[in-house]
Amino acid sequence: MAADIIIPSDLWEGDEETVISHWLANDGGTVAEGALIAEIMTGKAQYEIRAPASGVLRIMRAADAVVAKGDVIGAIE
């Protein structure tokens, strides 16, 4: 069962969007739960995104994409 990779909704105030700074794992690659897989940046604050489960990473939004709170940017299958 897939585990979604979701932009957190409680890191910053307001509805400001964020940018996916980069992915640190490849689409289709195997990742372990808790591994650092991406970073996002909002207002010069860099936030680490970690794998919610072990499995194969599916990237749905590319690096440099502008995303919002709650957006699904990938999944672990």
């Binding site: 409680d10 890191l11 910053w12 105030e13 700074s21 980069h22 909002t42 207002g43 010069k44 604050a45």
Partner: protein, 235 residues
Amino acid sequence: MARLNECPEGVRRFDDVAAGLRFESALFDDDAPAVGVWGARANAIVCPAAYRRRAGFAQVAARSARRGWRIFFRSTGGGAVPQGAGVLNFAVSMTANGHFRMESGYRLIAGAIRAALGSGGRQLTTGAINNSFCNGGWNLSVGKKKVVGMAQHWRGAKGGKNRILMHAAILIGGRIAPGIGAVDAIHHDMGLCRVYAKSHTTMENALAPAVINPAAFADKLRGAALREIAAMDGV
């Protein structure tokens, strides 16, 4: 309150910025509240680690090094920042609960800086400054000239908490034009906006005598940060 890791000296002085960045990383990698104030003797530019992944950045870095401004990388966000004798770095690291927001971090740093300046702190305004280095909505400025830039790094911790590094680059004194010019040159090479010295000033120029003694100012910064952290619930 959990044990606090605190730099005992006024300002930790490092020969180069790499040592200072390692000092900050150690604060971040700990699990207790930690405060540090440091400066680097050698001129350098610090960029967010994300720049390293940009196409052509190796050439940008090589050109900057030939100009005498070697580039180093940090874990927080933002843009290129000059370092050297006129810049003081103020770093706070803590583990915060789920109520703490990124804006909370900027308010903590800004509040500590204002408190450390005493009456001079009331002259600081918050907001973006056009054509300033590492521009952002939480710059601190005097007379529409930037004196402080801030950035953060967040990492998930146990129990739904977050480990956070918040830091500020404070233009303390001396000649800032060379460092600003070095950032402007990097921006030119990267196709980014112009950065002008006239968009910046120093604490000594704008707020003297509040920060004539950097070591005393550093001690006030640490004290103010400790009080801010102690007042927080769930840290």
